[in-house]
Symmetry: C2
Subunit: 441 residues, 2 copies
């Protein structure tokens, strides 16, 4: 006998969990469709050469390698994210795609991280990206999708933080950070949330950057103001730094496009301390944080115009965002945002078997209900008392029980018991599906 165990960091989803997950997936898919994003799927396994060299050594230690007896000449690995597969798909199928290519992809990825609360080795990612548009209208579109999805999911308070990689570089140059230390700068600023302004300042000074330079940089980074005013201020300061002017220009276009899409400053702000970890971003970057209560980031993305160039002589401008779907699923529980009437079961009616003499009629009633579109289960275990069958319906969260006992059969009737209220309704056999629908409203 084999012990029934799960691998470390992996999960089963039983029906009640699945219904919660599907509730979330359905909302985000609806929003993706509203914005004209289309679904794709790619294989879990990619050639190792497709994945390796894209994520850095630390990340690559986490990649799952796979093989079977016939694949030894073809080293394979399990996908680590959905972005590299997108770049591969766009290059491989470019003649079959219409650009701009707006796709979404909801699928699991694998990372051999140390498992901990909320962190798994197999988890779903949920990405929307637009390939082929250099204009900031694409970035606004991607932010719009995230905002609309979070609204529809019912998050009461959230904020999109927006920054720009070119602007960060410009701020570094303006402040006097030596060119070869601009990379250190991003890495340290990325820790702002964790170690605070003082921490970042100390770390930068520790890298040997002049205290005055660091102070100037920290001042710029922490500038806050609503909307365009801050862009004007930066522009007047850094007019002679081309990178900064490009970055500010992109943010200005982005803000205009957001305004045209009716996304207001209620939902976004510029935050120059927000850097995002990934190395491949080239322009605007954005993430959404839940502000009330303060629960950190649940979406993140940005523009990465170079990535497709890994597979293709000429890259294609690309921007996109990832919804942290596993975290969203957990937070809806924490914040009690699942609808009160979210079903624990797909079943609408349990047809009870009153006694063996009624089994045939019960089976027929179930078939009739199903043919009229009612999700129906009939009680399949032999000789259980009616009370036990009611208990089964309660345990599963089935809202209605239909009873066709000897009396009901001879009268051509069905008794419907509403498990929530305990009320009983007598209906004719013909009207039973309509009555079920009425009672479930």
């Amino acid at each position: 006998m084999i012990e029934a165990r799960l691998p470390k960091g992996m999960r089963d989803f039983l029906p009640a969990d699945m219904l919660k997950r599907e509730y979330v997936f359905n909302i985000v898919k609806d929003v993706f469709h509203l914005y004209g994003f289309e679904p794709i799927q790619t294989p879990v396994l990619e050639l190792s050469e497709t994945l390796l060299g894209k994520y850095g050594q630390d990340a690559e230690n986490l990649i799952f390698h796979a093989q079977h007896a016939r694949s030894k000449k073809e080293p394979l690995a399990m996908r680590y994210d959905l972005t590299v597969p997108l770049a591969r798909v766009v290059t491989l199928h470019e003649n079959h795609l219409t650009f701009p290519f707006k796709r979404y992809h909801i699928a699991p990825v694998w990372r051999g991280e140390r498992p901990q609360r909320g962190r798994y080795r197999e988890f779903f990612q949920c990405d929307v990206d637009i390939v082929g548009v250099a204009d900031m209208s694409a970035d606004a579109e991607v932010i719009g999708v995230a905002v609309t999805a979070l609204k529809r999911l019912g998050f009461p308070q959230f904020m999109v933080k927006i920054n720009n990689r070119k602007l960060l570089t410009g701020m570094g140059i303006y402040s006097g950070v030596p060119e070869n230390q601009l990379a250190d700068l991003y890495r340290s600023v990325d820790k702002f949330d964790k170690i605070g302004a003082d921490g970042v300042q100390k770390e930068l000074e520790g890298h040997g950057i002049d205290r005055e330079v660091v102070s100037r940089m920290m001042g710029l980074l922490q500038m806050r103001d609503g909307g365009f005013a801050i862009l004007d201020a930066l522009e007047s300061k850094m007019r002679h730094i081309p990178a900064a002017m490009e970055g500010v220009g992109e943010l200005r276009q982005l803000a205009e496009a957001l305004g045209n899409a009716y996304i207001s400053l209620e939902h976004y702000e510029f935050d120059f301390t927000m850097v995002r970890g990934l190395g491949y971003y080239t322009g605007p970057i954005f993430e959404t944080i839940i502000t009330e209560p303060n629960l950190g980031s649940i979406t993140g993305g940005g523009r990465y115009d170079g990535l497709i160039g890994l597979f293709r002589r000429e890259s294609l401008p690309t921007t996109g965002t990832s919804l942290g779907i596993e975290r969203i699923i957990d937070l809806l529980d924490t914040l009690n945002l699942y609808p009160g009437d979210l079903n624990r079961t797909v079943v609408q009616v349990l047809v009870a078997i009153v006694d063996e003499s009624c089994r045939t009629e019960a089976t027929r009633l179930a078939a009739e209900l199903r043919s009229q579109g009612v999700a129906t289960e009939f009680y399949m275990n032999d000789q259980a008392k009616l009370g036990k069958q009611m208990g089964y319906a309660n345990r599963k969260g089935i809202p209605l029980v239909a009873i066709v006992g000897p009396e009901e059969i001879s009268a051509g009737q069905v008794k419907l018991k509403h498990m929530g209220s305990g009320d009983e309704h007598i209906t004719t056999r013909e009207a039973v599906a309509a009555n079920v629908r009425e009672l479930l409203k």
Copy 2:
């Protein structure tokens, strides 16, 4: 630069393919829900010990093994089917499940087979099973699901073939096949479709089974008749063979349960030459074949009361069926059964950008349409002539184009062009979403 390639036997699904696949998945899920089956998901990776030893050596050579730097002490493998994961789930979570447990599972599995037309190394399986019911009503339920799904998918002619493992054993014993050759018997009869009656007969004689014994067996196997008559005939013949009587008894109960569920002999028949490959079946077995045109089997299943006993001291009675979902997806194309109006895109309206001066209003119109539930794309590439934008809509299969040029803007109107008919409709900005819905009916 890395070459963009797929691993052997694996596929990408681009949006138009995805919409076909989702059309099929949605129909089968709806049917599963009607019958009260609930979704589960399990991780792609299982402990190797969970998978190995269940499928036989030939199959095991096809299993993909997986590991990463931290998992070396925990040998892992990618799931090969959805049945062994079900047995593991039922055992691991039995205290959190309500029995009978009716679950469906739609998910990819991996097998390192030699790729060929219609056979892939990553492909979806689609299983419904009932755990915890020994009664034949469960088997009838599973057959009912398959019949209803195939009807809803539009297959014009199909037939469920039903047999019983106990009855096959009984026929072997009755004919005089030596007990230690009953296994050879199944393996040879399983080739009936490929090598015909003569082929099976020769093969059995080749195993050294007496010619007369083989003839008797072949006679029994090929008995055909509608419904109960054939069961009566078998019963009167083999009254003294307990295995045969048990098998006939199960088939009789199954036929009764099918009748109660309004599934008639139009849709099923007994076929004693149908054996099914898998070793674990213990009672009724069934498969569905497309009869018109003759395209072979697209669902298959049966009762396997012993399998959960691999993980659990006491097994649980289980029956289920697999819909050959990849084959079904392909056959709907072959037979031209996808609805004529199945969309190639999720997008309902393309908002065109007539010139740069209209971009703001176009973006706003898109936002307004989306807020009213219309799936909308606006044209994002700069400075394309209207004709090029129409071409884009045509190529993607977007049914409507909305135009807000300078004239429309000053009149507060929108022009809707129906790409199929070429008709143009002028509407007010307020009524545009309602008009879109009307035109898409």
